[in-house]
Amino acid sequence: MKRHLLSAGDLTRDDAELILSTAAELRELADRPIKKLPALRGRTVVNLFFEDSTRTRISFEAAAKRLSADVINFAAKGSSLSKGESLKDTALTLEAMGADAVVVRHGASGAPHLLANSGWVRSSVVNAGDGTHEHPTQALLDAFTMWRHLGESKPGGLEGRRIAIVGDVLHSRVARSNALLLNTLGAEVTLVAPPTLMPVGIESWPVQTSYDLDTVIPKADAVMMLRVQRERMQGGFFPTAREYSRRYGLDGRRMATLQDHTIVMHPGPMVRGMEITADVADSSRSVIVEQVTNGVAVRMAVLYLLLGGSEPAVGGEE
């Protein structure tokens, strides 16, 4: 493993499967009465969030605490884009406090990359979502969830599995990271979006693309719906929310065309009624709540492996 986790594309298949299998061991902890391990005792993990994201922040916080790390939450008011304290000064402050890992969420694409390569901090940097670039731990938890349901939690378990990712691909860091990671794991990814929400140059991505949801989902083993932000409508990417839902929303009628084993995923937060209807989100196919649980296990695995856990995470007694 590298020292930082900046892009899902940096992970080899061995890296990714090591994270998934480590997460599988760690996830069993969730069912134990005492959920804490001593693995990262004395280490400090800083959650540096320039964007509001309670979900991702508490997931990382829970992960670090279950590994006995000390956790500092640093919610930077605005980014330097809004003339607040600069990323550099914030980073130097954290370095002075002695962080072992910095988990960073930032509105600017590439901010974690800058943090890792600028020499401002010596700690490991984990990208917790940067602009419209990447969100690698989300992709890992998504892959982990699919792996449990579709791949028997075994190496190679996602080989040849068909995954449909649907929605605002253009602005989605989740889609970028998932496309890269799932390709590494051998799955076949199809991105589905209106042409206005497909990035330029998508032909070079290791994925298939489609504008037609109805032809893609009957063949899919997993359907991942992406959040569509309301402001995209003002951007003129599609005419109305209703038309979007009709063409690209997952409702009961479309759910009926899925194979029996197909799971429905969403990285959250959902806009119910927009990209997904309530009955689908709450159906037995939906693994949306489980994704959250898996998020903690995957982030534990990432922190553990990045911070130099050479011994098995579970079982080793101090």
Partner: protein, 431 residues
């Protein structure tokens, strides 16, 4: 009396070695006849050096007034002299904007006081660069600064009617509109060239069409009203094609390319290092090739630096927060050598045309861009094409350090620059 300089064995425009005598601000002799024995003469052994007419930059940001933390007229013209320039056109996007006779005269006067090269202020086309109403172009033209080049550079005159009026209006004083071609709606929040890489990096794309659509429109407008148009920093293969077509039709259109667009590509954005953030953005290798070909065949008339100094903090941050622009004056000639001369696309006479004669013609500058002949103003640069140097930002004469060539080895070195017979640079150092 000023010193007379005898420059021995210099290759004028890369030709056969000869001697050049600079006396009283003019080229007094060419071809080796001895100067009179009585005068004080400094002799320069210029064996191996090339003499070019003093370079003329049609596109420089000197930042004064307003951003003296980035550059001043004095530091910017020092950098210009180090790069072999004897005249620069100072862009109007200062604070306050150079949109009145008062501001352009201030910049002009600061240039005269600094004395490192002549400064020709560019006037804003619209009040405050706001793109809403014409600035007093006539007042700037009639001022002591004698403005002939007008530009809202940094912003595009996107309103078609306003652009038409500007093109028409400056005909009264033989002015030219230098357009920053960037369709604003197509480039909202744009960060880098739109293509494969922008999609992967999650940086908002700046599509080639946003430049090309404006250039096409402006060429049609200029033809329609019979005005002359200058296109700033052409960056795409499509733009080159449009300008080529306009010239073929006989329209009075000129265009510039920047050194960085001749050598760097958008791949550098993958570093997320905003030292490579510039507007228009670095494009693809195919665009670089097309620009070089266009510069070679004359479709692109000139090289202009778009020297854009920024203080360290405006580049030492995340990409989206960083300022657009890079330094260019001190490296321009080396980049042109590396990309055009060394590969055989342009000879030194061609370099003189693209970096001195043509920009002076476009800017209607009388005393620069003159041939190296007896009786002409002694604006001359001596250049050693055999030298190699590694770019060290801390050595820059500019107040800023944002060069994208840090650590790169570049060919060539400016040995001396003469402004009206007086050296501003001698032995590679400012005088």
């Amino acid at each position: 009396m000023s010193t007379t300089y005898l420059i021995k064995n210099v290759r004028v425009l890369g030709g056969e070695p000869t001697d050049l005598l600079l006396r009283d601000g003019v080229i007094a002799d060419l071809g080796g006849r001895a100067a009179s024995a009585s005068e004080r003469i400094e002799t320069i052994d210029a064996t191996g050096l090339i003499a070019l007419p003093g370079l003329v930059d049609l596109h420089t940001h000197l930042r004064e007034p307003g951003r003296e933390d980035a550059e001043t007229v004095e530091t910017g013209t020092r950098a210009a002299a180090m790069g072999g320039f004897t005249a620069v056109h100072a862009m109007a996007n200062t604070e306050p904007v150079a949109d009145t006779a008062g501001v352009v005269e201030q910049v002009w006067r600061l240039g005269r006081e600094a004395g490192f090269c002549d400064v020709y202020p560019v006037g804003a086309v619209t009040v405050g660069l706001q793109g809403e109403k014409l600035a007093e172009l006539g007042a700037m033209a009639d001022s002591a600064a004698r403005v002939r080049v007008f530009s809202d550079d940094g912003k595009c005159v996107s309103d078609a009617v306003l652009m038409r009026r500007a093109l028409e209006y400056v005909k009264a004083f033989d002015g030219v509109i230098a357009q920053h071609a960037q369709e604003p709606r197509l480039t909202e929040g744009a960060q880098m060239n739109e293509g494969e890489l922008s999609g992967k990096l999650g940086l908002t794309g700046w599509p080639a069409v946003a430049e090309e659509a404006i250039i096409a429109r402006d060429c049609l407008l200029a033809a329609h009203v019979g005005s002359r148009l200058h296109v700033c920093h052409v960056s795409t293969a499509g733009s080159v094609e449009i300008v080529r077509d306009a010239k073929r039709k006989g329209w009075d259109v000129t265009a510039e390319a920047c050194p960085h667009h001749l050598i760097l590509t958008d791949e550098l954005a993958a570093t997320y290092d905003p030292i490579y953030k510039v507007n228009p953005p670095l494009r693809t290798a195919a665009d670089v090739e097309a620009l070089r070909a266009g510069l070679a065949d004359g479709t692109i008339d000139i090289v202009a630096t778009d020297h854009a100094p920024h203080p360290h903090e405006d580049k030492d941050c995340e990409w989206a927060a960083a300022a657009f622009g890079m330094l260019g004056l001190e490296t321009a000639l080396s980049i042109v050598q590396a990309t055009m001369v060394d590969p055989g696309l342009l000879d030194w006479a061609g370099v003189a045309e693209r970096m001195s004669f043509a920009p002076a013609r476009i800017g209607r500058v009388a005393d620069h861009g003159r041939p190296i002949e007896v009786g002409e103003p002694a604006n001359v640069v001596l250049y050693d094409p055999a030298a190699r140097r590694t770019v060290d930002p801390t050595e820059s004469a500019s107040l800023s350090r944002n060069t994208p060539y840090r650590g790169m080895e570049l060919p060539g070195r400016v040995v001396a620059t003469f402004l009206r017979g007086r050296p501003t640079v001698l032995d590679g150092a400012l005088v």
